[in-house]
Symmetry: C2
Subunit: 507 residues, 2 copies
């Protein structure tokens, strides 16, 4: 393809992307394809001769688009949002056009320098202490591919720090601390590194937040049996329910455990720190006071296309000392003094894309106010949803909503006097049926979770095109399916009741 | 930015990318910016109010482009090529426009299915055995971010396999095998995983290839002292000199060591397997016969924009058993039987971009023949360069050229009768000066290396726009700098000679 053919194919791509985003809400959220659908349309081997790009672009429309799950659809409430903004697309486009593997400063000065600048911008946006900024000369930020990579990098840094000062420690004695609500990045890091994991139980009455006693007890237990906890992955906004670990409590405890690195996984909720009104509930003061590292995925709710997992560390040397494979005689004064940053020593891989461009584009085009508006809008829409749930005859919140995430289930309205309490298992079965009915639909997407044994349904808001109408529609759909499921469930209960007299169903 | 504003900004981006690629060879390869240049042009914090995108796009032209190292420049001969094709750019563009974190089949069927298909295409292109294809039902391929991620994933898989069958092994006894020519991905994996590394010495007379005796001796040594080598990272096309480990020898040895996982790092050279005439020298037969995994970075010499590190495994279960964090009760018959692939269990992270699109675009637009032509052209151009070197009065190859990589140094032509041999250190100093002179230029880029103590300069060909003229120009520039350096070096030697009589310089 020569330059002029690219211009033509590029214009076509832009037009088709416009058409895709224009028509997004008329599409179903979910595809109807069956496993293996694509192999019916694509030969087993690549063609011998090159093909015309128009044919290829048309095949994309014909065979790929119909097999997509539309994460940007306004009725997508599953998982967490996956940001896709026009500014992000353009950032990626310019970045692809110059392919710059900026593993050190020389291999592309702009790539390294823009990243240090926009990571400082992003720290500023979120109200992070200047200790986390590159301008501090000590801390700094780096864009990683995903929260998994961020966690792996800091676990390695924490392990290296621990072993440096406790050189005779057996690897088998090292323990990574998480809670039962920590994202699977924690257990995956333990699996990859071959280290033990302790998943501290958190309680529903604490809204699934890690509190002082639970952490202190775990540390005391482990001290007795010679295990060495060296990192705690605390969560600000858990995946299941948006739970927030109590960083004030954690701060209190870790004063006595100076070798416990505290990493904050704020992958989803961290972007809400951009709004001053949420900083207190998200423990910004404690984050700034003592945590060693924090990760915020701008590619979730933060308007920047995947991949853009922002990781800040309070002491960059802890990271580079653990990941630097440059022999000592190749180190430079400039690198050590922070005059230039060689990002290859800040993460697991070597090569890297020029990802800061899209952050720069997004933050400039939206401005701080536009970014805050997006966050606030999602939260207001979630409040609309929770108001509907609270006023509903069928639905009930399982725990307090957190920012733009609500977790609910179907619970039969108590009526009349023959009040009984249904077993957890019975209600779980009911809700599994509700979720199965919702999952069979193509016009909405939600995900399930389980909170200490209670089966629930998550409702996560954040696509840029979602508005009040989509929230109302979603609620209506959920209630419709809840009613159908309830009908089946109640009639099964009645049958059961007539047969065994063991359960009195209240209709 | 709304859809119509995006259309306008998108067209502009396409036009500017065309202009960039049109004008590429009139630019310098390297930027003239100094460390810290960018902070003079960008404020310390993001703007409060959103800015017009035209201003942002103009700032990209004004401040970012001048700070780039142009990896696609036809006179870029440094590191290894970083592919950037129009097809690759378009693949990334369509992919960004739909942001689809395809961590499992449901989250985007097309994303998963196209990846399995194009990985089979790519295996077919390279002549890999059908054992590595998804259609085998046992093996399969996955796109990783970088060769570092690929290596980490297979080291974890190999460690898990070893520990499963040797449950009482101390982690401290495990050893990763590499050679002294293995890319730093090997030592970085050891660093990250906290495991020992044994770097087996390879010799110049073997062209830096790992041979039978060296491997067998290392294994026997380690067996004696109770160390447990569990993976060997063999290289097909090393970074320093394009060295190829002798897989026939390795195959012979590992028959006696069934727990030694053999991973082939063919990150750079693997794409040359697309041409049947290079398959024998690259040990394709042995790769197909016995290795456990192989990695080929299409984002280097393989026409697909970063990131696209293709990893194939002979037994996908070894990978997924090591990386799967799905509880056993969530496993599905379909997943286990290979009806659907859940790629989250094939790599370190969870989220992932829709990277197979660009592979599909590239392989269809080029066709097998176009892909082969690109590889063959780079090799022919390298042969042109090595012919010039061989006929030169100043330059000398340090080891046999490998595909599209030549390693040379400056060695004074022996003249007259007062023949002396220069010390390695003296020649190294001369070549360091040559390299410093070349590095100070902006119109060409090369990288240095060291082969068993000999300082050398690498010449790696592969940018799509490089032609014979650029090779001749590069040679002329190198000779020009070599002559200047030689002059200085010889006059220093004469001074030294006159002063001490210890060295007789031959002029």
């Amino acid at each position: 393809m020569d330059v002029e053919q690219f211009r033509k194919a590029g214009y076509l791509a832009i037009d088709r992307i416009c058409e895709y985003h224009h028509s997004l809400q008329e599409r179903s959220v979910l595809s109807t394809v069956k496993p293996g659908y694509l192999k019916d349309h694509i030969p087993l081997a690549p063609p011998e001769e090159g093909e015309d790009f128009q044919v290829i672009a048309d095949d994309y429309q014909k065979y790929i688009i119909p097999g997509l799950t539309h994460w940007q659809h306004p009725s997508f409430f599953a998982y967490f949002p996956a940001a896709c903004t026009f500014e992000g697309i353009l950032g990626d486009l310019y970045s692809s056009s110059i392919t710059n593997p900026g593993f050190n400063w020389t291999s592309s000065p702009a790539c390294t320098e823009l990243e240090t600048i926009v990571m400082d911008w992003a720290a500023n946006l979120l109200g992070l202490s200047s200790a986390f900024s590159h301008t501090s000369g000590v801390g700094g930020g780096v864009i990683q591919t995903s929260a998994s990579d961020s966690v792996l990098a800091v676990v390695v840094a924490a392990r290296t720090r621990y072993l440096k000062d406790h050189p005779n420690t057996n690897l088998e004695d090292l323990v990574i601390y998480t809670t039962t609500q920590t994202h699977s990045v924690g257990s995956k890091a333990a699996l990859i590194l071959g280290l033990q994991l302790r998943s501290i139980e958190v309680k529903a009455e604490d809204e699934f937040s890690l509190r002082e006693d639970a952490l202190r007890n775990a540390l005391q237990d482990d001290a007795k049996i010679g295990r060495k906890p060296f990192i705690l992955i605390a969560t600000i906004g858990s995946t299941s329910s948006g739970a927030v670990d109590n960083l004030a409590d954690i701060r209190e405890v870790v004063q006595d455990y100076p070798y416990l690195w505290v990493h904050v996984d704020a992958a989803w909720a961290g972007v809400a720190l951009s709004c001053p009104e949420f900083r207190s509930v998200l423990h910004l003061q404690d984050i700034n006071a003592f945590v060693n590292s924090i990760c915020v995925n701008f590619h979730k709710w933060g308007l920047v296309n995947f991949d853009c997992s922002a990781l800040w560390v309070r002491d960059r040397k802890k990271l580079t000392e653990a990941l630097d494979i440059t022999p000592i005689f190749l180190r430079t004064k400039q690198g050590d003094a922070g005059v230039v940053v060689d990002y290859r020593n800040w993460h697991l891989g070597l090569g890297r894309r020029f990802r800061s461009l899209k952050v720069w584009f997004v933050l400039r085009s939206y401005g701080v106010k536009g970014f805050q508006n997006h966050i606030r809008k999602s939260i207001v829409l979630t409040q609309k949803f929770t108001s509907l749930v609270n006023a509903s005859d069928e639905l009930s919140l399982v725990t307090r909503p957190s920012l733009a995430l609500a977790v609910f289930r179907v619970v039969p309205k108590r009526e009349g006097e023959n009040q009984v309490t249904f077993s957890t298992e019975s209600l779980n079965n009911l809700n599994r049926d509700v979720f199965a009915r919702l999952s069979a639909r193509r016009d909405i997407m939600l995900t399930q979770t389980s909170l200490n044994g209670i089966f629930c349904i998550r409702f996560a808001v954040g696509a840029t095109r979602t508005n009040e109408g989509h929230i109302q529609d979603a609620y209506n759909i959920i209630v419709e399916e809840a009613k159908s499921a309830l009908k089946t469930w109640k009639s099964a209960l009645e049958t059961c009741d007539q047969a065994s007299n063991e359960v009195v169903a209240v209709i």
